[in-house]
């Protein structure tokens, strides 16, 4: 495992192009595009203000930089550095900007969710979509980029609009049976739309592409409901994480619950492996202290850590949420399927230090990773069943069915990994610190992620 040198970035704006060739980062008001393999700067663009959002077009030819506080969007072309495009939303304001899947349209959501403006780069045409709903996830494009689902609120009722992205033709428009729609998500095959209600009510609705209601699922009433929803890449399962600390898995044929994964504080499932991160501080007074370590300075204060397999049962530290505060820190907030749909990683908010990995074939708990600090972010390798996670410290953690590794990021100045992104090839990882970034290259052979408890 190798690490690149550290680069600067702001607002954690750092994205690899969809074709995997380029790395775009924003530093203040500058946009830097590098070659991923050499890390040489290919292009350098200067925006009008500090960038708050940056996104690659699907064909990796254009980069969108949004400056929300100025209501401005600037688009840069990689092939034609001279080409420029500036979209000004004017005094109506801007809260969100994104590419359409074809990479030729930009969808801007104005302040107060007054409307969605669709700008065409081909024709300079502008079209409006009124009454977009301000919610957790109000817009979703199907995986093939053909359809867009948009949540709409008019006359105090929820609607879903299905647009054809080609020409923004409104294909379907139907009312949903929700009190207060919170989000929608296409199945990866683009045929089923999952719609869920706000957390006040546990309700998940499944609509076909043509607007038919396929099924409604509700696990319980009264208490806080759905917190997160995720489709498996095979479109076979729909995982629903809720405030009752459970994940329910629906199947794609009957849309009924297959199983539910509970997140108990005491793990006594004998089939599961519990990896506990154990820190060991290098003893200051020990004679073994190598001299060059002192010279390295920053690493001196870094503690080594490694995973230990805990004998069951294991008690996971639980933080009791404050009942008086809104949106309590409890329940399953993050759900992620591995690329082969074999594993599901979850995080329960009141057990912030633990990541749970479930085997979807056995429908059982596979592993629990108990970290010393709260988990910030985790992401699956896009090709392999390999989970990378970070916990806001100087280490990178990897889990694979073979075992678990904790890797110290060997950079100066206490690089703390806040977030991470896989390169689409699965060969490298982009680690994002507060104002820095660093690339981590995986060994191409599977050697090191199979050896458990290997401390690097």
């Amino acid at each position: 495992m190798n690490f690149s040198e550290v680069f600067k970035q702001t607002n954690q704006l750092c994205k690899v192009s969809p074709d995997g060739k380029y790395l775009a980062t924003c530093v203040q008001y500058r946009l830097v595009v590098r070659d991923v393999s050499t890390l040489q700067i290919l292009q350098l663009y200067t925006c009008l203000d500090q960038v708050s959002h940056m996104e690659w077009s699907s064909d990796s030819l254009f980069i969108l930089c949004a400056m929300y506080n100025r209501g401005l969007v600037q688009v840069w072309s990689l092939e034609q550095p001279d080409w420029h495009c500036k979209i000004d939303e004017g005094s109506i304001g801007l809260v969100s900007s994104r590419w359409s899947p074809d990479g030729r349209h930009i969808l801007n959501t104005t302040e107060f969710h007054l409307r969605v403006t669709v700008w065409s780069l081909c024709t300079k045409a502008v079209s409006y979509i009124k009454y977009p709903k301000a919610c957790q996830k109000g817009i979703d494009f199907s995986r093939d980029g053909r359809y867009m689902a948009l949540a709409e609120r008019r006359d105090c009722k929820d609607y879903v609009c299905v647009f054809v992205c080609d020409d923004w033709h409104l294909l379907r428009h139907f009312e949903t049976e929700t009190q207060d729609l919170a989000g929608l998500e296409w199945s990866p095959n683009g045929c089923v739309l999952a719609v869920w209600d706000s957390c006040l009510e546990y309700k998940v609705l499944l609509y076909s592409l043509d607007g038919r209601l396929l099924s409604t699922y509700s696990a319980y009433e009264w208490s806080l409901g759905v917190k997160s929803v995720s489709w498996s890449p095979s479109s076979q399962f729909l995982a629903i994480g809720s405030y009752d600390e459970k994940v329910r898995i629906l199947n794609h044929i009957t849309w009924k619950k297959i199983t539910q994964f509970e997140h108990p504080a005491i793990i006594d499932n004998t089939k599961a492996t519990v990896y506990k991160e154990a820190e060991k501080r290098p003893g200051v007074g020990s004679d073994e202290m190598p001299l060059h370590n002192i010279t390295m300075g920053a690493t001196l204060f870094n503690t080594q850590s490694k995973y230990e397999i805990c004998p069951l049962p294991v008690q996971i530290p639980v933080v009791k949420p404050d009942p008086d505060r809104a949106s309590p820190k409890i329940g399953i907030s993050v759900l992620a399927f591995s690329s082969d749909s074999r594993y599901l990683a979850t995080k329960n908010d009141n057990m912030a230090t633990a990541v749970w990995v479930w085997d979807m074939q056995k429908m059982s708990l596979e592993a629990v990773l108990e970290q010393t600090s709260a988990v910030r972010c985790f992401q699956w390798d896009p090709l392999r069943p390999r989970l990378a996670l970070c916990a806001g410290n100087t280490k990178l953690y990897l889990w694979s069915p073979g075992g678990c590794v904790s890797v110290q990021v060997p950079t100066e100045g206490g690089f703390q990994v806040q977030s991470l992104n896989w390169h689409c090839s699965g060969d490298s990882l982009i680690l994002l610190g507060k104002e820095q970034l660093c690339l981590c290259y995986m060994d191409t052979d599977q050697e090191d992620n199979c050896s458990p408890d290997k401390n690097m």
Partner: protein
């Protein structure tokens, strides 16, 4: 009954007696006071009359017929009377004793009863106390239940109230929210309007030059045709999705059907192999089994044609047959289970199927057997004890002597046997020897003759007749040959019995009358010699199994120990 009546009699008589002695004693006391002695020369008559009165009052015959007839005492009558009195007295004493015993018994009974009453009273007290305690507890529990019920009711009411509150608040909030939302929408509209109207800062796009579409095509007009195309495409994607799904499901179904088929086959094979074995329970199920078997065969036929599998009927048939087989298998397994459990709980249950009478009969029979065995054992023990404790006892003495005689006889028999064997051997030897002697004598004779002829020849050789020599020689030769043969045969026999010959060389010269004598004596007890070995083993058995071979022994010991046998018979019966 008769005893009790006599006792009653005795009682009544004793009651009678009780009054009379008092009177008598008072009288006698009176007499004594006046005269010092009860009877003296002077008052014989008085005494007599008095006594006769007394006696008659006892209900006895008076000692004399008439008091006035004569002062002479009828001695016989007096004696009789006395005897009767003594009898009476004795009886009285006995009844008194009995009464005392009775009294003691009843006293102890009374004590016991008193004791038990006190105990029972205590128990009663305790149980009463317990009862009151339990009642108290029950009352408390009831109170508790009541309070809990009240609580529950209250809680329910509370819940209802809260739910109502929640519902009302929710509806209120919803209403409020809707109102706010409407206002919000109005504001949005207004804002939109204002922004559109506003000239100074407009939305704008500033592009250097338009870029082409990603697919390189020109953008299309929104026409109805396009709409239709979109619809078509949408349905196409849906269709393809359903297609793939259907295909997947079909595959899965085929797989599952295969599994089902396999399962069915297995089940059929298992059940068919079971059927002949379990023909016994076949008639239990009766007609259903037969009917299902027919169906079985049908299903089997259909399953063979795998082409038909996908048609609805075949599928139904398959599932039905599977269900059927499964049910049968289940029942079979359940039966097995129940069998196992019944076997575990005990065979008594299984024998319950057998009529109770036979069961009881068997029990009776077994009990009887046990009783017999016990009797046998007891008898044996008794005999043994008798043998050990009192050897001087006549019976046991005879038994013992019998036993000794038996032993002696056995010993003798053994000796007889060995002797007979020896005798046989001797006889054979003797025969051999006699034969040999005969042969020897023959040979001697021949030799003698030969010698005579030889001498004659010698004699004649001296004379001029020499031609008659040859035939005579040949004859002697033949005689020698014969003797050689017999010798060889005789040599074989002695070899066999060489030991015996060495042991008793005297037997060889034994004369025939002596051996015949021996033989005759042996012949006198031929059965003994034949039964001897058997008896010996039987004797060993006798100690171990006493009761089993009683009849056998009866045969064998015929006439030897009739007495013991009769005893045994008594004990066994």
């Amino acid at each position: 009954m008769p005893e009790s009546s006599t006792v009653k009699d005795v009682l009544s008589s004793s009651v009678e007696c009780r009054t009379s002695p008092l009177r008598r004693f008072s009288l006698s006391a009176l007499h004594r006071n006046s005269l010092g002695v009860f009877c003296s020369e002077d008052n014989v008559q008085e005494c007599l009359s008095h006594i006769s009165q007394e006696v008659s009052s006892f209900g006895l015959r008076p000692a004399w017929t008439e008091p006035g007839s004569g002062s002479e005492l009828n001695i016989v009558a007096a004696l009789n009377c006395m005897y009767d009195l003594i009898q009476l007295h004795r009886r009285g004493l006995r009844t008194l004793e009995n009464m005392e015993v009775e009294q003691l018994k009843s006293n102890s009974n009374v004590d016991f009863l008193q004791l038990s009453t006190t105990r029972l009273k205590e128990q009663l007290e305790i149980s009463k106390r317990e009862n009151t305690g339990l009642l108290e507890r029950e009352r408390q529990l009831q109170l508790k239940v009541k309070s809990l019920q009240n609580c529950l009711k209250n809680e329910k009411e509370e819940v209802q109230k809260l739910q109502n509150v929640i519902a009302s608040r929710a509806s209120q909030y919803n209403h409020e929210m809707k109102r706010k939302e409407r206002e919000f929408n109005k504001l949005k509209e207004r804002l939109n309007q204002l922004l559109v109207d506003k000239k100074e800062k407009k939305q704008a796009i500033d592009v250097l030059n338009n870029i082409g579409r990603a697919d390189g095509k020109r953008s299309l007009w929104k026409t109805e045709k396009m709409e239709a195309k979109h619809e078509g495409e949408m349905y196409k994607t849906l269709l393809s999705d359903y297609d793939t799904r259907q295909r997947e499901l079909q595959l899965e179904n085929a797989e599952l059907r295969k599994v089902l088929q396999q399962m069915k086959k297995d089940m059929v094979s298992i059940l068919s192999s079971r059927k002949p074995a379990a023909k016994g329970d076949k008639h239990e199920h009766g007609g259903t089994q037969a009917a299902s078997e027919e169906e079985d065969d049908e299903a089997f036929d259909s399953s063979k044609e795998s082409v038909e599998l996908y048609c609805v009927h075949a599928r139904e048939k398959l599932t039905n047959s599977i269900r059927l087989q499964w049910r049968r298998l289940k029942s079979h397994v359940e039966r097995l289970d129940s069998q196992v459990s019944s076997a575990q709980t005990g065979e008594s249950k299984s024998t319950d199927a057998v009529p109770r009478e036979t069961h009881e009969e068997e029990m009776d029979r077994l009990k009887l057997e046990i009783q017999q065995c016990k009797d046998f054992i007891q008898a044996q023990q008794q005999l043994l004890q008798q043998q050990l404790s009192s050897p001087c006892d006549e019976e046991t003495a005879s038994l013992l002597s019998d036993c000794y005689m038996l032993q002696e006889k056995e010993r003798l028999g053994d000796e007889w046997k060995t002797l007979e064997e020896q005798r046989k051997i001797f006889e054979r030897e003797r025969r051999n020897f006699t034969e040999a002697a005969i042969r020897l004598s023959h040979e001697r004779k021949a030799f003698e003759e030969d010698r005579a002829t030889w001498l004659k020849h010698q004699f004649l050789n001296l004379s001029p007749f020499s031609d008659s020599k040859k035939p005579s020689l040949s004859k002697s030769k033949s005689a020698f040959l014969i003797s050689a043969e017999t010798d060889s045969s005789a040599a074989v026999a002695p070899e066999k019995f060489i030991k015996h010959r060495s042991e008793s060389p005297r037997c060889v010269p034994l004369t025939s009358p002596s051996t015949a004598d021996l033989y005759r004596t042996l012949c006198l007890i031929p059965e003994d010699s034949s039964t001897k070995p058997k008896r010996k083993t039987e004797h060993v058995e006798e100690s171990s199994v006493f009761c089993g071979n009683a009849p056998v022994r009866h045969k064998r010991w015929d006439g030897i120990q009739d007495r013991t046998l009769s005893q045994e018979k008594n004990s066994s019966i």
